[in-house]
Amino acid sequence: MINTPDKKKVLVVEDEPLIVALLSTALTARGYEVTIAEDGEKALELVSKILPDIILLDLMIPKISGYDVCKTIKADDQFKSIPVIAVSALAQQIEINRALTAGVQEYVIKPYKMSALLEIIRKYV
């Protein structure tokens, strides 16, 4: 697999360990550098620490909700240009609108097709 020094950094914010494992395997296999945050607090901490190229954000996560994580990132001049992809099992329009208002670039409904998700990621990084 590709192993260049300019590997793109993906921050995966997700509290379901099996989804984390499957997603990071698929992303790593395609040459991304994956960092995991299992709750909202950790996510914000890692954003400033590793400065990811893109964030995959579950919305229903412990401590700080995905919506609030996104709002915080988008309110910060240093991080607001980082693309945020909401990845959620919530499929109602009202929830999608809420996420878009919080500033996410895309909304992917679970279960997603891995190939479709990868395509969206490639669109941004």
């Binding site: 698929a26 499929a91 279960p111 997603y112």
Partner: protein, 535 residues
């Protein structure tokens, strides 16, 4: 029409005889008494339309006192005063107290007839207007019985109508708690809020409790403690008269209607009592219906929340299954042999079907509960169909089918929700592709209908549907058994058609199917053109 009754209260025999002759000649039923006490006694016995009252009478009561008494106790009897010369001030005072008119003695036959006729004519009109208003109010309650309203709103309307019908100035509607049997005030008017909030009566307590317990309606025109069952209770001395009626639904008492007169001089009549008893029958039905409606709304909300929650919970494990399948299929966990490949694909297909089903259930439940608001806009239907046919043609090719679309020469814009109409199209085309054997074709056409509508047809050369199933296939989870179809192996349960039907119906359109076994099926929907043609 029965003769109108006139009571003459006059001690001067010359005058009373004169009146008797003049008015009897006019067709009225006339009775004469010489004192106020006798006059009131007669009024107590039967209703009179009019009383002619002399100002000066022997005995304890003068004309003004009699007038006051009649206005309070017999409000439906009009009063005309006879006054002597030089008593103009008293005559004017009597008008202020509610007399219809006064005549100065001596008077002629014509004068008397003129005043009496005019008075009774006005009374007739007044009665008719009152009757019409009561019919209107009863009608309003019967409308309420079948309309969808919250309980509190229904209670409020009933109390207002009841009060309006009998000119009451205060009252309340008390409801029986189904579990404890206690009475509490649901809505009130003209009462202290503190009392309205804090009254709790047990069955049998006070007047309302007695009515709730016995199921008997009461007309109280005297102090309640004159009745043996209420002799020990303290009542509000301000209340001059009241009507208390139980609200019954299927022999069960669900509430009590209390209607009072406090400040006013009006006393409720037997007619008021009958009217409110009539109203109470419909009111009870309206309240029960409103309760059922509220409960249904509650259940509906719970159902929607439940479905939303369940679909979220189901999507998480599905994500794990489908991601595993994709990773395995991509060889990320090592190479698979052919057999493993095949079964991994099957797991993926089934999991995807489950996923579609979850989305469909959620969609349908939102459509059916009215939570889906159509976002209508002006759309070119042919463009929308073209786009979807193009997207599905890949799938058709894979199955060895041809899919084509013949647009209508006149391109018509309609007012519709494009996403929802797209869902209808995809469901119909997808079904057609599914039930048509390789080598066949699916064709989408559109044309203007007879009325202001546009008709879209999805025709296939598939296995067809027996006529007895053409309607039921639009029901939820209706799948044709293999034996019901001429040949082939139908798969995938239909929530798709139920969703399509719901969407089309909500657009004010129609959807149906036509088929002859062996010759394929046609699924047709018609949408109303809500906008001008746009050529």
């Amino acid at each position: 029409m029965a003769k109108e009754k006139v009571l003459v209260i006059e001690d001067d025999v010359n005058v009373s005889d004169f009146c008797f002759d003049a008015l009897t000649g006019e067709g009225y039923e006339v009775e004469v008494v010489s004192s106020g006490e006798n006059g009131l006694a007669l009024l107590q016995d039967k209703p009179y339309n009019l009383a002619l009252v002399d100002l000066h009478l022997p005995g304890g009561m003068d004309g003004i006192q009699i007038l006051k008494e009649i206005r309070i106790k017999f409000p439906h009897t009009a009063v005309i005063i006879f006054s002597g010369v030089g008593k103009i001030e008293i005559a004017v005072e009597s008008m202020r107290l509610g007399a219809y008119d006064y005549i100065t003695k001596p008077f002629s036959v014509d004068e008397l007839r003129f005043v009496v006729d005019r008075c009774l004519e006005q009374q007739r009109l007044h009665t008719e207007v009152g009757g019409l208003r009561n019919i209107k109010n009863l009608y309003k309650v019967s409308i309420m019985m079948s309309s969808l309203m919250e309980v509190e709103k229904v209670l409020d309307m009933i109390l207002k109508l009841a009060g309006d019908m009998v000119h009451a100035d205060s009252g309340s509607l008390m409801m029986v708690n189904e579990k404890t049997g206690e009475l509490t005030i649901g809505v009130s008017m003209g009462m202290s809020r503190y009392i309205a909030k804090n009254v709790h009566l047990h069955s049998g307590d006070r007047i309302a409790g007695w009515v709730a317990k016995t199921g008997e309606a009461l007309l109280l025109t005297d102090r309640p403690d004159t009745l043996p069952q209420f002799k020990d209770i303290e009542t509000n001395p301000k209340i001059k008269s009241s009507i208390v009626i139980p609200l019954k639904s299927k022999d069960k008492i669900i509430g009590v209607l209390n209607i009072n007169n406090t400040g006013s001089t009006y006393t409720f009549t037997q007619q008021d009592f009958e009217l409110l008893k009539e109203l109470a029958v419909d009111a009870a039905v309206a309240i029960e219906n409103a309760k059922v409606y509220e409960r249904l709304k509650e259940i509906d909300t719970l159902k929607t929340q439940f479905i939303s929650m369940v679909s979220h919970e189901l999507r998480t494990p599905l994500t794990i299954i489908l991601s595993s399948v994709e990773n395995l299929d991509d060889g990320i966990f090592g190479e698979l042999n052919l057999e493993q490949h095949r079964w991994i694909k099957e797991i993926g297909t089934s999991a995807n079907r489950l996923n579609t089903l979850i989305s469909d259930i959620l969609d349908l439940s939102k459509l059916e509960s009215g939570q889906t608001v159509l976002k209508k806009e002006s759309i070119k239907l042919s463009d929308l169909i073209q786009k979807n046919v193009a997207q599905l043609s890949q799938l058709a090719k894979k199955r060895g089918l041809t899919l084509k679309f013949t647009p209508c020469p006149k391109c018509i814009t309609i007012l519709a929700d494009p996403k929802k109409i797209e869902q209808v199209l995809v469901n119909l085309i997808d079904n057609a592709l599914k039930f048509t054997p390789a080598g066949g074709s699916v064709e989408v056409t559109m044309k203007p209908g007879e009325k202001d509508e546009i008709i879209v047809t999805v025709a296939d050369t598939g296995i067809g549907i027996k006529s007895e199933y053409l309607e039921v296939i639009f029901n939820r989870f209706q799948q044709l058994k293999q034996s019901d179809t001429p040949e082939g192996n139908p798969q995938g349960v239909g929530l798709g058609l139920a969703i399509a039907k719901e969407i089309v119906t909500q657009h004010g359109g129609r959807i149906w199917a036509e088929s002859e076994p062996g010759k394929g099926s046609r699924f047709i929907f018609a949408l109303p053109i809500e906008e001008q043609r746009n050529d």
